[in-house]
């Protein structure tokens, strides 16, 4: 005779919802993490108490420990425009593919002569590329031209974005769309290297600069 069985609960619980959630989060964090392409140089910035967040439309000049100069422009359309102007001025022929690569890249640091070769490398190879960075000396001041064309290109994109925002009916502040100039300097770099770059900015009448700093707690 079979006994009356007490309905036995399975010791395993249904994990499906938890798993769903976990994988949703995994996907989210993966997508959020991947698009960061790494910079060709590592820079340790000094710290400050400033809480101002880096503006969207920016032109960043990076100076590493040895004083090499790299540059980056945040908006990709502006990058293409800047590159075309620079290539025309220095008469450097670039293929379509190289232009495209430049557009999706982060900071770059090389002379105009090295540029086609530099663009053909992968981002890992660029870290090891033997270069003196963007030339800043007064006889061959390529950085000045980069900043000049970069500023114009970033202003144009800023204006387009501003008009788009206005069309949408928001009340945008025109100042937020103007390009801001950022200096990312290594704490160990000599200040004269930074001064050289700052002087180039000042020559172009761009006097308001921002230094990237790691956050530090403000004293009471």
């Amino acid at each position: 005779m079979p006994k009356i069985k007490v309905p036995k609960h399975s010791p395993s619980i249904d994990m499906t919802p938890m798993v769903d959630l976990a994988f949703l989060l995994v996907t989210f964090f993966m997508l959020a993490a991947i698009p960061r392409e790494t910079d060709p140089v590592d820079v340790t910035t000094p710290s400050s108490i400033s809480e101002k967040i880096i503006p969207d439309n920016n032109l960043t000049v990076t100076i590493d420990k040895g004083g090499r100069v790299f540059m980056n422009l945040s908006h990709s359309d502006a990058r293409t425009e800047m590159l075309q102007n620079m290539a025309a001025k220095y008469k450097v022929g670039l293929t379509e593919e190289q232009t495209k690569k430049f557009t999706i890249m982060t900071s770059f640091g090389c002379s105009m002569k090295e540029l086609p070769q530099y663009l053909d490398l992968t981002s890992e190879e660029r870290k090891r590329f033997n270069t003196i960075g963007i030339p800043t000396d007064s006889t061959k001041n390529e950085l000045k031209d980069w900043i000049y064309y970069g500023n114009i290109a970033a202003l144009n994109t800023g204006q387009t974005k501003f008009l788009e925002a206005e069309m949408k009916g928001d009340k945008p502040n025109a100042n937020d769309f103007k390009p801001k100039f950022i200096l990312k300097v290594d704490g160990k770099a000599a200040y004269i290297f930074a001064q050289q770059v700052i002087d180039i900015f000042r020559d172009l009448n761009l006097n308001n600069l921002n230094f990237i700093t790691s956050a530090e707690k403000a004293p009471k």
Binding site: L25, I49, L209
Partner: protein, 213 residues
């Protein structure tokens, strides 16, 4: 002959032979483990915080010639920076043998230590006591919601540009590191000083600095 014996002799327990019924559930534990491992990894490596910036306005370039005559300045302090050391003098600069016949400016040394009574933080707080006092009053008002955020900002900026507020000039020699410079600007901002101008080092100041080292 070469057949494989099937089944063996006779039925096992009698009745029909049933195909084994597999459970519809699979063990998800390993997958979940992996899922959470990945989750932890991405949570830890993703940085959402955008970098912070400290803004600084440089004086516009008017002429190419470097400045050789000291600027007249009201309630100002000038810092001379060199590698990991900082010197200062207050007010006008008087070079040896100046036309006014004033005694030569003496450089004082200070340091970046926040707790040192002779340090930069204490020095700037003392010199800029006017603005700091006004800021505390404004803070109090803001806390009691007597004034709005925007008014607070505006009033603070007003006090910072008043005659009584301290103005800071920063001059660097060629051994200064960027860290020294940014540390100094940071201290200046901590002391609520609104007017900061990085300037070129004059020849006479450079000589004075060299004598101190």
């Amino acid at each position: 002959m070469a057949e494989i014996a099937e089944g063996g002799g006779g039925h096992d327990k009698g009745g029909k032979k049933r195909p084994k019924k597999g459970s519809t559930r699979i063990d998800m534990t390993p997958m979940v483990d992996l899922g959470f491992l990945l989750l932890t990894f991405f949570v830890m490596t993703t940085t959402f915080s955008k970098p912070k910036v400290m803004s600084l306005t440089y004086p516009a370039k008017i002429e190419d010639k470097p400045l050789e005559k000291p600027l007249p300045i009201n309630n100002g302090i000038t810092f001379l920076l060199t590698k990991d050391k900082v010197f200062y003098y207050t007010g006008q600069f008087y070079a040896p043998g100046n036309a006014d016949g004033k005694p030569v400016t003496i450089l004082e040394e200070t340091n970046f230590s926040p707790s040192d009574p002779k340090g930069l933080r204490k020095l700037l707080a003392d010199k800029n006591a006017f603005v700091i006092k006004e800021k505390l009053l404004l803070d109090e008002k803001l806390k009691r919601k007597q004034i709005a955020d925007t008014t607070y900002e505006r009033m603070l900026n007003q006090f910072m540009s008043k005659k009584e507020a301290l103005k800071v000039l920063i001059k660097t020699d060629d051994k200064t590191t960027c860290e020294n410079f940014i540390d100094l600007v940071d201290e200046v901002k901590i002391a609520q000083i609104g007017v900061v101008a990085p300037l070129e080092l004059m020849k006479s100041e450079a000589d004075l600095l060299k004598a101190k080292l």
